[in-house]
């Protein structure tokens, strides 16, 4: 954050090799990356270290301790082991939905805006229609026809119903980049169209794409949790949502079994908050006005209310 404009100019002169500045490591970004990283690590390594999450024991609803880090469920399953597998399941959903959303929104948003003309009109119409058709009811209707759903199907359905918002944001930004002078210069210079799109325009969109993907991951994990809570999630899989579904059905709250009900919800909240923090940092790159650093500058003429 200490880099001023003059400093940045000096750095560029001395090190012309470095082309794109990485986001400054603020407290927000550091905390966000650390928390998200720990949860991802837990999801990747956790299932290797714990026992079978479905093993039934005759010690239902024991409080944390006595060899079970987070206690047991109604039927004596290890909550910690379940949490490890659930973390992995939810992360898979998040990653798959994030990837599909990235592809779809980049295709319909960026390519449409870049090509322009009738293609843009058609893509934009399609995007806007997908945007106004409510997602969750559509997901519920589709998933109620399919009796045995895999985790992949749930992810695909969530992605198909959620890419439109990102596409609209990307389209708006691409339109503004496309009409900048340097793109015109590249066009006059005889660069090929795909090269202008990939080399000249796309790098400018990377921060925006990143923030849209992060947003899609949060949305997917929350969406899957909601779907599972309604009993419409992937069958026979472990996610944070299915854990909450079983906890709710096992009357975990009523019986005071907070160790069963609280961890999945807190895990979602922590992961979501960490991703939001990362997103704030990306936002500050896209829109430097949002940086807290500019506050001092603004105060020079600030309106005293």
């Amino acid at each position: 954050m200490a880099i001023t404009t003059e400093g940045a100019a000096a750095v560029e002169k001395s090190a012309p090799v470095r082309r794109r500045a990485w986001p400054p490591l603020t407290l927000k970004l550091a905390v966000g990356l650390a928390v998200a990283g720990l949860i991802v690590l837990f999801g990747v390594l956790g299932p290797l270290l714990v026992g079978n999450p479905s093993t039934v024991r005759d010690i239902g609803l024991t409080a944390p301790g006595n060899g079970f880090l987070l206690g047991t469920t109604q039927s004596g399953q290890d909550v910690f082991a379940q949490l490890a597998y659930a973390t992995r399941g939810s992360l898979i959903i998040g990653v798959v939905v994030g990837a599909i959303t990235l592809l779809l929104s980049a295709f319909f948003g960026v390519v449409g805006a870049f090509v322009g003309g009738a293609t843009d009109e058609a893509f934009s119409l399609f995007t806007n229609i997908m945007l106004v058709i409510p997602g969750l009811p559509l997901v519920i209707v589709i998933s109620s026809y399919v009796p045995n759903k895999s985790i992949w199907l749930v992810a695909a359905v969530l992605a198909i119903t959620s890419w439109a918002g990102s596409a609209r944001v990307l389209r708006g930004f691409t339109l503004s980049v496309r009409s900048r002078d340097y793109v015109l210069a590249a066009r006059i210079g005889g660069e090929k169209r795909w090269r202008i799109l990939l080399v000249e325009i796309l790098p400018n969109l990377i921060p925006l794409l990143a923030s849209q993907v992060v947003f899609a991951v949060i949305f997917a994990i929350l969406g899957e949790a909601g779907l599972s809570f309604l009993g419409l999630g992937a069958s026979g899989s472990f996610t944070w949502g299915t854990m909450l579904f079983y906890a709710q059905n096992g009357l975990a709250l009523r019986l005071g079994a907070w160790w069963w009900f609280a961890p999945p919800g807190l895990a979602i909240a922590l992961f979501g908050a960490a991703l939001s923090l990362i997103n704030f940092s990306i936002d500050e790159i896209i829109n430097p006005k949002l940086r807290s650093q500019t506050r001092a500058e603004r105060n020079k003429w600030s309106v005293k209310a």
């Binding site: 806007n128 009523r254 919800g265």
Partner: protein, 329 residues
């Protein structure tokens, strides 16, 4: 005028897309919803030929008629307003079920969303106007609340404020035992009392987005040249804040409001599941659990229509508050 026509044309296209989607989904999915529905209906009572025809028109038939003919029959059926018979609420027709449940959802979710929007915008305005003040430091807290799964938060609040300290009722839309529905004071009181906690949970979990969006737009708009000019002219800070900065900063939030309506309706399904509220979301879930495909498709259609209608309203309003939109098109 051109703006209006363009908007209307778009919504006609969106309406057609929704109707077609609703037509295609049951036909493209595996399984045979018609047979399932008819056999379930038969266990509850005799199935009249008209009911059979209605269900076949809505969900697809295995007869040899072409998809195109089926599509026309389906549209014809919708225009007549015959949506088939519900299994879950047998023998009520689907349209009657929807008529009974829709007002609850619109009342609860609509009101809660408007409150959340208004309060969020006001708080966001204050936070962006004076960055670093106590209002500004609320932002991380509300953002944190947004990443908490809604139903989890709602269940916790329901448990705390319904069971542990019984301030609010646990379930339902009104007290079924002591009041009868109608425009009487006890009924209205009962409805408000039962709706307070669901509305509160919706406001808590959705206010953060409005606040953050408004705050960021305030911050961006504050550094525009016209704000400096306004200040140089010696206008009062209050006037600059509301007439100059907030007037421009609110525009993206208004168009965001239209988009969020879809999520609001989606959220209502979960809200109603948690609070056992007698709205259209509960009807959808009941339909799903009973394989009541006719009701399910109809609820999906109604929800989509409601969202489209609300979007159209917001779009028209947007044309009024931002004259540039009309000029551009």
């Amino acid at each position: 005028m051109r703006y209006l026509l363009r908007k209307l044309a778009f919504y006609v296209a969106a309406l057609w897309a929704a109707l077609t989607l609703n037509f295609l989904i049951p036909r493209l999915m595996p399984g045979n919803p018609v047979d399932l529905m008819l056999s379930k209906l038969a266990t509850k009572g005799p199935v009249t030929p008209t009911t059979r025809d209605a269900i076949q028109a809505l969900l697809g038939t295995d007869t040899s008629s072409s998809l195109w003919d089926q599509y026309w029959t389906y549209l014809h059926q919708l225009v007549k307003g015959d949506l088939g018979t519900s299994i879950a609420y047998f023998p009520a027709p689907v349209s009657q079920v929807i008529g009974q449940t829709l007002p609850w959802t619109v009342g609860l979710i609509g009101l809660a969303t408007v409150i959340s929007f208004a309060v969020g915008i006001l708080l966001g305005r204050a936070a962006g106007w004076r960055r670093g003040s106590w209002v500004d430091s609320l932002i991380p807290v509300t953002t944190m609340l947004q990443s908490v799964p809604y139903f989890w938060l709602a269940l916790l609040l329901l448990f705390l404020l319904g069971s542990t300290w019984p301030v609010f009722p646990l379930t339902g839309g009104y007290d079924v035992y002591s009041v009868t529905p109608g425009w009487s004071l006890p009924f209205v009181q009962s409805v408000l009392y039962h709706g307070a906690l669901p509305a509160l949970t919706i406001v808590i979990s959705s206010i953060g987005g409005w606040m953050l969006g408004m705050r960021n737009m305030m911050v961006s708009t504050l550094s525009e040249d016209f704000v400096v000019t306004a200040e140089a002219k010696g206008l009062t800070p209050r006037r600059i804040r509301s007439r100059y900065v907030a007037r421009n900063a609110i525009l993206p939030s208004v168009s965001g409001f239209a988009i969020s309506l879809g999520f609001v309706v989606a959220g209502s399904i979960v809200t109603e599941a948690v609070f056992t509220y007698p709205g259209i979301g509960s009807a959808l879930l009941l339909a799903v659990n009973n394989n009541d495909y006719a009701l399910m498709q109809a609820v999906f259609l109604i929800i989509t229509l409601a969202v489209l209608g609300a979007n159209l309203l917001v779009d028209l309003l947007y044309g009024v508050i931002d004259p540039r939109t009309r000029a551009r098109s």
